[in-house]
């Protein structure tokens, strides 16, 4: 084909390219069309609907509703419960994300370095991810029982008086964070394992030649930089998932005691599905989504620069 193109005059060659490019674009559109249609239907349109509902006073069960402009948002600003909810969610996410990532990385490194029983270890650490959180939360509730639960019983054996994990407003978020870390570390472990297995062995050999002896050196010079993209992905996903916490709160504390464990998605659920104030809940959802978008944006900006791509 190339030979034929050269002997044509320039304008026709460019036209040929343009036609080819147009054809390629058309095919690309066709291939992407189903995805685009579905995204529009199931993500974009509902989000638009939520935004519109945020400007109404729609309540579930009644047929009519009115448009109330920014009234819902004004109410949100003065809503003490919403502010507490925002704060709790931030604290929770800030507690779960770093530990979940560190433990995931640590376990991945340990498993990677081990040759026996890998499958077993991988499965056990991944189990929490594969289990129904609602059911596991019930088990955790029993385990964290202040007087007859195993955790406090074991602590008592060592002479430590275990706290009222889920009952006291001081320890409820740490307790939920503990369960959150337990539930997500395995997910990060799998992602890190993949990233680790992809590091070419030659790099380690080269590093050793250059004088890197200890494991710490190898990690610092080869592993960590090569894990860059994986780490970025893990951090982004972890932050977003921890902000979306809901099921543990719903099953274990229902936001209590006295809103000490109330988180954004739970507040939205309460307002929309329990108090049936769908308009107000929609306004909250819009703010929730806005926060996520900002978080995502910031992370990509800040972290992407530091990632080393090969």
């Amino acid at each position: 084909m190339a030979e034929a193109a050269v002997s044509f005059p320039l304008t026709t060659a460019r036209e040929g390219q343009r036609r080819a490019a147009a054809r390629e674009a058309r095919i690309a559109w066709l291939l992407a069309a189903p995805a685009l249609v579905l995204i529009t239907l199931f993500i974009i349109l509902p989000v638009v609907a939520v935004v519109v509902l945020g400007f109404t006073d729609f309540e579930l069960g009644y047929d009519e509703f009115r448009f109330v402009g920014f009234e819902n948002y004004a109410e949100l600003l003065s809503d003490r419960g919403f502010r507490i909810s925002l704060w709790n969610t931030m604290v929770y996410a800030a507690s779960v994300t770093p530990f979940s990532i560190l433990i995931g990385l640590g376990v991945a490194l340990l498993i990677e370095g081990e040759t026996r029983g890998r499958a077993f270890f991988r499965t056990v650490y991944f189990l929490p991810v594969a289990s129904l959180l609602v059911a596991m939360a019930t088990v955790w509730q029993y385990m964290l029982h202040p007087s007859i639960g195993p955790v406090n019983m074991v602590l008592a054996f060592f002479g430590i008086a275990g706290p009222n994990w889920l009952g006291s407003s001081d320890t409820v978020i740490p307790s939920l964070a503990l369960i959150g870390i337990w539930q997500s570390a395995g997910f990060n472990m799998v992602l890190f394992l993949a990233g680790l297995t992809a590091i070419p062995r030659e790099l380690y050999a080269a590093a050793e030649v250059d004088g890197a002896r200890s494991g710490l050196d190898r990690f610092r010079l080869v592993t960590w930089p090569m894990l860059g993209p994986t780490t970025l992905f893990v951090v982004v996903i972890s932050v977003i998932n921890s902000v979306k916490v809901f099921e543990t709160v719903k099953t274990l504390t229902e936001g209590g005691p006295n809103k000490a464990s109330e988180v954004l998605l739970f507040t939205i659920y309460q307002e929309g599905f329990v108090y049936l104030r769908v308009g107000y809940a929609s306004a909250m959802t819009v703010i929730f989504l806005a926060i996520l978008v900002v978080l995502m944006f910031l992370q990509y900006r800040v972290l992407d620069r530091q990632v080393h791509y090969s």
């Binding site: 029993y142 007087s147 009952g167 006295n258």
Partner: protein, 421 residues
């Protein structure tokens, strides 16, 4: 072609005419708390279908709690998914009524003519009325009672056969139980979740939640102050630890708590979970005002949703059956609820013998004359109001606020949530 078309038409017409005179009516029934009611519902529906061969009962997916049940019904109202009957928590009847969802049972009762003879006294009918309108029929009703661990009481020097009758006596005895050590606690009081147990204290002191015209908050008046004082005394005496609802109950099952105050509806489950670990007893709950004090009625009512006249007739038959003496005779032993039907309680055909053989169930029964409706707040923030009360109660239990301070704060917040008409 024409011949075939005519033949088909003729076939269709004759089929329509020849259809059996009474086609089978199928009723879809929705209920909450299957862990609790599934066996009860299966039993009742089977007996009903035996006695009413033209009506078939099928069950929609049950909801885990009263709250989820309401949400489901709200979402389904007016759609094809809406069940024909449902069971709604007594304090949420007002909310569904405001959205015009239940069918008014007044005309059915009038047509029936002899509800009282079937055991539906006026008091019982009132439990499921909203502003005089009969929204449903009370199906399972409960009141708060006192459970106690006779072994712990005995060890603490009390006499389990003579349970305490006033709050001061309870707290004093609970303190002695706590002094036994070894992780034992004095009291588990179910203040969490909703305002029901608080109502137990409030109504027991002769108080009300709102004024008669529902414009003023009255739960922080004299009676309310006495009510939270009891709670505060429990906390300050060190006998009420800050349990979550599940943790408290589980500790009691394990034999680590002296007294438990919660609904009589949990009796059967408590018996099963305690097993033979300790000697379980029940008794009346103390009233702050032993003369005029009242108790809130928990539980749920059967509500008819279908607007189809044929189905409504069948639904009415089922509703009466479920809320009637047979239904009560199934609900009570399986759960611990008290019979919502006077015939059931007295007649040996139904429960007369049961109570003789199961004295633990007598506590709830003996308090039936004190039962008044569980109060539901007006307006669209009705649910949020109960949450506000619970949150302020938790401040008392965690000792983050004084009793009167928390009570007044609750009153102020609730006032803001009431409708501004």
């Amino acid at each position: 072609m024409n011949l075939i078309r005519h033949a088909l038409a003729g076939l269709a017409i004759s089929a329509a005419i020849a259809l059996p005179a009474h086609a089978e009516t199928t009723l879809t029934v929705h209920y909450p708390m299957p862990g609790f009611f599934k066996d009860v519902m299966d039993n009742i529906s089977k007996k009903f279908m035996d006695e009413n061969p033209g009506i078939k009962i099928q069950f929609a997916n049950p909801s885990a709690t009263y709250e989820e049940g309401i949400q489901t019904i709200m979402r389904q109202a007016g759609t094809a998914e809406m069940p024909d009957l449902t069971f709604i928590g007594l304090n949420r009847l007002r909310m569904v009524n405001e959205r015009d969802i239940p069918v008014d049972l007044g005309p059915f009762i009038k047509a029936d003519g002899n509800m009282a003879q079937q055991g539906f006294s006026d008091t019982i009918l009132k439990l499921a009325q909203v502003n005089g309108k009969q929204v449903g029929l009370a199906f399972a009703t409960s009141n708060p009672i006192m459970y106690y661990n006779a072994d712990l009481v005995r060890k603490a020097g009390g006499n389990p056969d003579v349970p305490p009758t006033s709050w001061d006596e309870v707290i004093a005895l609970a303190a002695k139980v706590k002094a036994l050590g070894d992780g034992v606690e004095g009291i588990d009081f179910r203040w969490q979740g909703d305002d029901w147990m608080f109502s137990g204290l409030l109504f027991g002191a002769g108080g009300t939640m709102l004024s008669a015209d529902e414009k003023t908050v009255t739960f922080n008046d004299e009676a309310g102050k006495k009510a939270v004082a009891v709670l505060e005394k429990m906390v300050k005496s060190g006998v009420l630890p800050n349990f979550t609802a599940q943790a408290g109950e589980q500790a009691f099952f394990a034999g680590k708590v002296g007294f438990e105050f919660k609904t009589t509806g949990g009796l059967r489950n408590t018996i099963k979970n305690v097993g033979d670990k300790f000697d379980l007893r029940t008794a009346k709950i103390p009233l702050i005002d032993p003369v005029n004090g009242k108790l809130p009625t928990g539980g749920n009512a059967v509500v008819i949703l279908t607007r189809d006249a044929e189905k409504q007739k069948a639904a009415w038959t089922f509703a009466k059956f479920a809320a009637g003496p047979y239904g009560a005779s199934v609900v009570v032993p399986g759960t611990g609820y008290v019979p919502n039907n006077e015939l059931a309680a007295k007649s040996p055909d139904y429960l007369g013998n049961f109570y003789k053989e199961n004295p633990l169930f007598l506590a709830g029964l003996s308090q039936m004359d004190r039962m008044i409706p569980w109060y539901s707040f007006p307006g669209s923030n009705g649910v949020k109001v109960t949450q506000t009360i619970v949150e302020n109660l938790s401040r008392i239990v965690e000792q983050k606020a004084g009793a009167n301070e928390a009570l007044d704060d609750a009153a102020a917040e609730v006032k803001k949530l009431l409708p501004r008409k």
